[in-house]
């Protein structure tokens, strides 16, 4: 079919890119995230066969979270607004993590607190 690889392309894929047993490496897969608050966002369009245990290398989105408090270099596509929000939040968490004693953020917000708004 026109959307699929031609025999020679298939041969190249198989030789250069396909992850094989002999490589001793595992197929990388993106974890299926489940949002507590939102309902099941990502209905799997097709029954993805769950990689049998140990055969897949789950890509982690949190392993390097301490690196996320700075905008990392981009190439042709700049960081989006929501990405800057994310970086800001990671930066605040980092600051809070290093605070001893009571939290300066709380003190900063305290003057704006009006209990009548809360009840």
């Amino acid at each position: 079919e026109s959307w699929s690889l031609s025999p020679e392309e298939f041969e190249i894929w198989d030789r250069l890119y396909r992850i094989k047993e002999s490589d001793g490496i595992k197929e990388p897969v993106l974890p299926r995230v489940q949002f507590e608050t939102l309902e099941k966002l990502e209905e799997t369009p097709f029954p993805l066969q769950k990689p049998e245990e140990g055969a897949a290398r789950e890509l982690s989105l949190s392993e390097w979270s301490v690196w996320q408090n700075q905008p990392l270099p981009t190439s042709l596509v700049d960081h989006s607004d929501r990405c800057h929000l994310f970086i800001g939040a990671m930066e605040m968490m980092e600051l809070m993590r290093h605070q001893q004693g009571d939290c300066s953020y709380e003190q900063e917000l305290q003057p704006h607190l009006r209990m009548e708004d809360v009840n």
């Binding site: 690889l5 894929w13 890119y17 197929e27 990388p28 897969v29 890509l59």
Partner: protein, 41 residues
């Protein structure tokens, strides 16, 4: 699976261009990872 292979093959070609451009080497696993991410996008 054939569709995944088609995406994987194209990702490999595009990575090869970046390799020449940036003078780096992509590991097989990193190309497969970019392909998996693209597929899920």
């Amino acid at each position: 699976q054939r569709l995944k292979a088609a995406v994987h093959y194209t990702v490999g070609c595009l990575c090869q261009e970046v390799e020449e451009d940036k003078d780096v080497q992509f590991s097989k696993q990193s190309i497969a990872a970019i392909s998996e991410i693209t597929f899920r996008q």
